[in-house]
Amino acid sequence: MNRCLPLLLFAMLAIAGCQREERDTRPQSALGSGKQPTPVTVLTPGGERPSPSDNKAAAFEANAFHLSQGKRLFNWFNCSGCHANGGGGMGPALMDKKWIYGGAIESIHATIRDGRPNGMPSFRDRVPDDQIWELAAFVRSLSGNVPSSAAPGRDDDMMVHPSENRLPNAATLGKSP
């Protein structure tokens, strides 16, 4: 029995590894199909930020899976065409701390869903609601508004220098062979 105990404990430890991150890819339409109006202004009595009108915000805001999906969709739907990887171009920059229409995830969701004056198109009906939430969460993460443990990494090609394994050998750099 004494010999079995460590083995049993080890097995229990190993089984703990079977727990994996929950990935919610199958939305329940009943929870919200993106039809509810979202407050678009911070001008509320008492000066508070718009109250969350959709219970999805909390589920998407700091979830690593949804953030990485948002990053993929940002690329797939060519958001960079105007926002240039968050740096801004034809459209405003997304990685600074300036939010024209509010920096809450509900506001960003409303921006993508309903569009904004001067160029931002509406993606209502073009992008399913959950995917808009994923995009909104990723846009928020661009300016460092999510826990770094959840934020997706920056692409290799956007690093200021090549990744370490692609750097030339420092010992031979600048010397003729």
């Binding site: 890819t25 199958r26 797939w76 739907f77 073009r126 399913p128 959950d130």
Partner: protein
């Protein structure tokens, strides 16, 4: 005890049943796979023979060891010479066999390398999570064809595959026709193969690539040249216009709803390039990279609940009501 042995024997025979059919390396249907199958059999036979010889020698030694032996400190010159000769003979035989197998493998590889040197057809296969983008290269831009998951090739002709990926490493493996080769992001691998006879050969992603790795299969369909040419010309046409009012409604919905963000239908405004090309989707035999067979019901099921059929796939659940779903399916069903 006897029953256990019988059961073990039966269990070891069971996997052999998987050795024939439309996805088996031991049932070669082309020169590349034939070369590899011959190597597999020869290696296995030779190694089994060597193993048997070693086992026989070992058992004989054990039996002889049972007899009493003399003083181990007394050296017998004749016996020592005899033992040295046996050890060196075994060493020599091992070296000869290993070098021989290396040479065989080397010459087999040389044969594989020249199969497609005069290939008239080049197909670019790009791996995506979890489907295959297939592009038929042509020097005339209007003859370049992009399709997905189903690869038609002319039988009896060498075909060159250029393999690459956009996300993670996948591996293209059609065991009846060729060995497997990886699809690597930012890198192009070249695989040549030839199907001797017309037929349908199943292929499977052979490098773990994520949640739906198992549901990432492809079909290589080898056809006689005239049928292949007809297929190619057919696929190069833009999509058929919707035939019924319902299909017309489906066409309009397709362009208004999220479908249009990712999928392409030639001849319409839908031009997405991140998901399978649907220009002739109903002409394909399967749906979602071999997950479902093509039928109206399966199309509807796939659109209504992709995350139930292929959890984690990048096809999202789209909020459609029953009429909208029916209309879109009616339209897609007509895209032959």
């Amino acid at each position: 005890m006897r029953r256990i042995w019988v059961m073990c024997g039966a269990a070891s025979i069971l996997p052999l049943a998987g050795c024939s059919g439309w996805q088996s390396a031991l049932d070669p249907k082309g020169p590349a796979a034939g070369e590899l199958a011959w190597l597999i059999w020869f290696f296995t036979a030779l190694c089994t023979l060597v193993w048997l010889l070693v086992m026989i020698a070992l058992i004989m030694t054990l039996i002889r060891r049972a007899r009493p032996i003399g003083d181990p400190l007394v050296l017998d010159a004749t016996s020592e010479r005899h033992k040295t000769r046996i050890v060196f003979a075994a060493l020599g035989a091992t070296a000869v066999i290993l070098i021989g197998l290396t040479l065989l493998s080397f010459f087999a590889n040389r044969t594989l390398a020249v199969i497609g040197s005069d290939a008239a057809l080049t197909i670019r296969v790009t791996g995506h999570q979890w489907w295959w983008e297939v592009r038929y290269e042509n020097s005339q831009p209007n003859r370049i064809l992009t399709t997905a998951n189903e690869i038609h090739i002319p039988a009896g002709e060498p075909v060159r595959f250029i393999l690459t990926s956009t996300d993670v490493i996948h591996s293209f493996w059609v065991p009846n026709l060729a060995g497997k080769l990886d699809l690597i992001p930012g890198h192009e691998n070249v695989l040549d193969l030839k199907a001797d006879k017309p037929g349908v050969y199943r292929g499977q992603c052979a490098e773990f690539c994520g949640a739906q790795h198992a549901n990432m299969s492809t079909f290589v369909i080898a056809e006689p040249r005239p049928i292949f040419d007809a297929w190619l010309n057919d696929q190069l046409r833009p999509a058929a216009p919707p035939a019924s009012p319902e299909a017309k409604a489906g066409h309009d919905l397709f362009l208004k709803r999220p479908c249009v963000m990712c999928h392409k239908i030639g001849g319409t405004m839908a031009g997405g390039s991140v998901a399978p090309d649907l220009t002739h989707v109903a002409s394909r035999q399967t749906l979602a990279a071999g997950t479902l067979t093509m039928s109206r019901g399966n199309l509807a099921a796939w659109i209504a609940d992709p995350q139930g059929i292929k959890p984690g796939a990048y096809m999202p659940v789209v909020d459609l009501n029953g009429d909208e779903l029916n209309a879109i399916v009616a339209y897609l069903e007509g895209l032959r």
